[in-house]
Amino acid sequence: MRGWTSKPTTEMARPPPTLARHLLGSDPLRRAIYIVGLMPAVWTFYLGLMDQLGADPQNVLERTLGLWALRFLILTLAITPLRRLGGPNWIRYRRTLGLLGFYYAALHLTVYLVLDQGLDGAAIWADIVKRPYITVGMLAFTILVPLAVTSNNASIRRLGGTAWAQLHRLVYVAIAAAALHFVMLAKVWAVEPLCYAAIVAALLAYRLAVYLRPRHQKRRATEAVAPARSAR
């Protein structure tokens, strides 16, 4: 059941990964997920350059990148419930999906900072402190940074599995903030952001239900959120 026990322990002695390996991984399927996963970003940017994104292309690019960030974060949180509710075990790909979510969040933020605000520091700072939806969005991104930086086996070794797992539980806060950020920017209660918020709420409620379960059942649940060392 525990994915990482099937791997030889010698793997733990590998040298730290190069940047290319850190970004793309060594597993062919994982590389394929990265490449396919980054296609929406490449394609949307291409359409933008070709003037195919409608009247407000910058806004479409910004929103598309943000939406994919949220989608990948949702996928990372769906993996444990999927396995524990009898589905396939895709824990090997959770790190890949999480990093994709981070890359999309970083691209989303970059479009906001560079294209939308034109790197106007005063306007950006005013947005962050005065606009709750921007504050919440920045909070989500800020939380994702240490999680992305420690999404490698070396960090798991350095921090120890328990501390690492505790740190990475911050993704619950990040995804809640990301969903809230999406709901808050609409002028009215819009259907699409509320659907995403409902999915996020369900995934977080699942964790809460596991946490509140009687102790003898909780051990298995703790295993479910332990780091997936097989991910390298």
Binding site: F45, G48, L49, D51, L53, G54, A55, D56, P57, Q58, N59, L61, L115, D116, Q117, G118, A123, A126, D127, K130, R131, P132, Y133, M184, L185, K187, V188, W189, A190, V191
Partner: protein
């Protein structure tokens, strides 16, 4: 009504033939609209002749027509920007009557043609600033609202003008089903002096053609110094009142939207800055924000209406 042009209008731009042709053209346009009912969306627009107005904004390039007719907020047809262009073809705009009532000498259900006949059609190029932080430059075709109100003979006690959009769920998909974004009908209002101001028009066309449904056909308000949502679309009722009428967005969220809604870079929307705007159709993906102007750049003409009024409190 022949308008003497100031020197910034080239002689070639003056089209006096439109003045005497205007009514016939509007009628022909309306007929063409009926004939084109089965054709694709674009065929709905029919040519309209209009004299260029000296009240136009002349120093900025027009937003491309394709953007003006595809990027719309018209929640009666859906909340996404492309929903109105996709869904609005179902609306029938002929015949169209406008009820004018309240504090007027001649309350009645007027045929649209009779209202449009009260003054010469003019082309008015105006900036349009949406409360969401984007803007366009649109060559409207319309006539002063003042001319229409005068036809109904406003009474001295009238202080405000209330407007109402059509409610027809069978033809407006955003008005039916679960999770309606706003209460219907969409309502808006102006103070009487705002309504009578020469810049305030009722538009029946843009880019020299009758309005497409997604732009508020067949008859919509345009108040260029206020955020776009004040310029109510597909108007079926105009009422003169003594008290300030309710307006849809301020009913829906009074903290974020007030009655006046004048474009004001110094008063932020609670959730975003109003200091800058993105001009639609300009530079594509790499468009840079431009500063938003007080009263959307029409301060010289309209700031006097608000002398002594606290614009922060009356947002």
């Amino acid at each position: 009504m022949l308008i003497k042009h100031s020197c910034d209008v080239a002689a070639a731009d003056i089209t006096p033939r439109g003045v005497y042709l205007r009514r016939r053209d509007f009628m022909a346009g309306a007929a063409g609209l009926a004939l084109a009912a089965v054709a694709p969306i674009h065929a709905h627009a029919a040519p309209l002749a209009a004299a260029k107005s000296p009240l136009s904004t002349t120093d900025e390039p027009l937003t491309p027509r394709k953007d003006i007719i595809s990027y719309n907020n018209f929640y009666e047809f859906g909340t996404d920007k492309d929903d109105p262009a996709k869904n609005a073809h179902t609306l029938t705009t002929k015949p169209w009557t406008v009820k004018i009532d309240g504090l007027v000498g001649k309350p009645a259900a007027y045929n649209l043609e009779d209202l449009v006949d009260t003054a010469a059609l003019e082309e008015r190029v105006y900036r349009m600033r949406c409360v969401e932080g984007w803007s366009m430059v649109i060559p409207w075709v319309g006539l002063p609202l003042a001319a229409i109100l005068k036809k109904a003979e406003p009474q001295g006690s009238a202080k405000y003008v209330a407007f109402e959009t059509l409610v027809r769920p069978a033809e407006m998909p955003g008005q039916k089903g679960f999770g309606q974004p706003l209460p219907w009908p969409y309502v808006e209002g102006l103070r009487m002096d705002e309504a009578m101001h020469p810049l305030t028009i009722m538009a029946v066309g843009l880019y020299g053609e009758t309005l497409l449904n997604q732009n508020g056909a067949p008859f919509r308000l345009v108040v260029p110094w206020k955020y776009g949502f004040k310029s109510i679309k597909s108007v079926v009722r105009i009422s003169l009142t003594e008290t300030q009428p309710p307006t849809t967005w301020s009913k829906s969220n009074p903290r974020e939207y007030g009655f006046y809604s004048n474009v004001n870079p110094a008063v932020d929307h609670p959730r975003w800055s109003q200091a800058t705007e993105r001009r639609i159709g300009e530079s594509g993906l790499f468009v840079k924000r431009r500063p938003t102007l007080p009263f959307n750049g029409y301060g010289d003409q309209v700031a006097g209406l608000y002398a002594g009024l606290d614009l922060k409190a009356n947002y």
